[in-house]
């Protein structure tokens, strides 16, 4: 039985393939480094939401609050002299974690609808605060004058996005591996138990509230790190980091990719950004129509059925090319 478990948690070959492809992407598409950077940042943001939604069952429509706080913290730190990216990233994640810890107590109880409204409300409040205190944040003009020091003192942030892309992907990989450990540990098990049946989890001794506060704080730190990466790699922060659409987008990304297995946010981010990039070139004004259509199809038909249909079509297609009769 122990051996069976070892097999279950060991890195399987699909995961290897996933990361080899991910790391190969910047080398294969050197002209798309800025896009890949954006994908990595959105993937980290969606990973953060997956920790909440996929593992603890907490739904949020205000996750941009933590993304935004991380972004502003990183931008302000750099603007006021702390230009070292890694230290800035850590401090920004910590700032988001503090906000996460403080607001976690508001989402401990209540239905999904209450949580949606409470998290959305917090998001809206932060957006207005950033707007109001424009002497600090730059308000609608955005935070100007963010200049980052070279990464590790060696790699300057270049216009092509080489450093940015490598930096974001490295942070994504490290934080992904941490999250992977976390969800496969006894702690992760207790989160899944609270998600599945809080009443029963409590009656076997799981302190549900403490666990939820912990994961909410961790998820906030992850979102803050994603925001910080955006601020540092684009060297600019605007009110857009706190906007409601960002919270909605990340939920959409997670639904596209699927929650509760960690890779969903990463895959969803890639689909979302690539579609955005490609469709925006075709129909600059209406690209969200196609994202919307895809979302409706995936939610109504179910991800598995879509995947199965694509696989069946693919097999039929390859059979035809191989000259075999279709069944």
């Amino acid at each position: 039985m122990a051996a069976d478990w070892v097999r279950r948690i060991a890195v399987n070959h699909r995961e290897w393939v996933f990361w080899i492809v991910a790391i190969a992407l910047p080398l294969l598409f050197p002209g798309k480094l800025l896009l890949i950077n954006e994908i990595a940042i959105l993937a980290l943001f969606a990973l953060s939401l997956d920790l909440l939604l996929g593992y603890a069952g907490i739904i949020s429509l205000g996750h941009a609050a933590f993304f935004g706080v991380g972004a502003y913290a990183a931008g302000l730190l750099a603007k006021h002299g702390l230009a070292e990216p890694l230290v800035g990233l850590l401090l920004s994640a910590a700032a988001a974690a503090v906000l996460g810890f403080l607001t976690s107590f508001l989402v401990l109880r209540g239905s999904d609808l209450t949580r949606l409204m409470v998290t959305m409300g917090i998001g809206l409040m932060l957006l207005e605060l950033a707007n109001r205190f424009d002497t600090i944040t730059g308000g609608a003009d955005g935070l100007q004058g963010v200049v980052m020091a070279p990464l590790l003192g060696l790699f300057a942030f270049d216009l092509a996005g080489r450093t940015a892309c490598a930096y974001s992907m490295a942070i994504l990989l490290v934080l992904f591996l941490l999250a992977r450990r976390l969800v496969r540990s006894p702690f992760g098990l207790s989160l899944r138990a609270v998600k599945a049946n809080r009443l029963r989890a409590v009656s076997v001794g799981v302190p549900a509230d403490t666990r939820l506060v912990t994961i909410y704080t961790i998820a906030a730190a992850y979102a803050g790190a994603a925001g910080a990466l955006l601020a540092q790699t684009t060297q600019f922060v605007s009110l857009d980091v706190l906007d409601f659409h960002r919270s909605a987008d990340v939920l959409l990304v997670l639904v596209l990719g699927g929650s509760g297995y960690l890779y969903g946010g990463l895959i969803g981010a890639a689909i979302f950004k690539v579609m955005q990039d490609w469709l925006a070139a075709q129909t600059p004004q209406y690209w969200q129509f196609w994202i919307g259509l895809l979302l409706v199809v995936i939610v109504l038909a179910g991800r598995e059925r879509v995947a199965v249909a694509i696989r069946r079509r693919w097999t039929a297609l390859t059979r035809r090319f191989a000259g075999e009769p279709t069944p």
Partner: protein, 250 residues
């Protein structure tokens, strides 16, 4: 007689309905104690008061002599009182092995350990596997809980409660809804529970009650009517009166 669980004048009302009235229940260490009563007598309310799901309006709950009236449900579980539910309360996304391991992790206070994967906690996983073996669930260890047959789910319900190694175990109608030919499994599991665990059984099935309990309390309209050895209770005219119209005792 040293007591595992005691309530002192426990009261709970829902609006005008007094669901629990001045209930003083004493469960000895290692007891095989049954709580019976007609439908609506307040048995489930009493369990919810004991486990902390509900707060009493008055009275106290003592676990091993310590007042636990104010403690949260999860703290009571950690102090050694676990329960099963009349309607299965299992973890839909977990396997039986994970469900049982969860309870063992919490017993060891490992629940917040986040670095080592489940599998590397070999002592816990082996204990979980051994427990499933004892409950005849070994070959379903990795089957998603939701797809288990009802009788197996009923067994898992008890296994999860036992995994916490409680001093006091509350069984809320463990045989409810289990088909006749699978009942003996539940019965033998309940009978085979460790002797040092005080078991409080809430049950409608009188065969199960009288084959298991060495002491019976009868709850009627929220208050304790009679308490005594099975033959005393069975012969008590007040109990017969309370059950009039229901299945006869014994």
């Amino acid at each position: 007689m040293s007591l595992a669980l005691e309530t002192v004048a426990l009261c709970k009302s829902f609006g005008a309905l007094a669901a629990t009235r001045e209930v003083s229940l004493r469960v000895a260490r290692g007891a095989r104690h049954a709580l019976i009563g007609p439908n609506g007598a307040g048995k489930t309310t009493l369990i919810n008061l004991l486990t902390g799901v509900l707060r009493p309006d008055a009275g106290r709950v003592l676990l091993g002599g310590t007042d636990i009236t104010e403690l949260a449900p999860h703290t009571r579980a950690r102090r050694g009182m676990t329960r099963t539910f009349q309607i299965n309360q299992l973890f839909a996304g977990l396997t039986p092995l994970e469900s049982v391991a969860l309870a063992i992790f919490e017993r060891h206070r490992f629940g917040r350990h986040w670095w080592r994967p489940l599998a590397s906690h070999t002592a816990v996983m082996d204990e979980a596997a051994a427990l499933l073996q004892r409950f005849g669930l070994a070959n379903a260890a990795h089957t998603p809980v939701a797809t288990l047959p009802y009788g197996r789910q009923r067994l898992l319900e008890i296994a999860v409660a036992i995994a916490g190694q409680p001093h006091v175990l509350l069984l809320d109608e463990p045989a409810a809804g289990v088909p006749e030919d699978e009942r003996h499994e539940i019965l033998s599991i309940v009978k085979g529970l460790p002797g040092d665990v005080a078991v409080l059984l809430i049950e409608h099935d009188m065969d199960l009650v009288f084959s298991f309990a060495r002491r019976i309390s009868v709850l009627v309209d929220g208050s304790l009517l009679v308490e005594g050895a099975p033959d005393e209770v069975a012969g008590d005219p007040r109990v017969r009166a309370a059950y009039l119209g229901e299945a006869p005792l014994g």
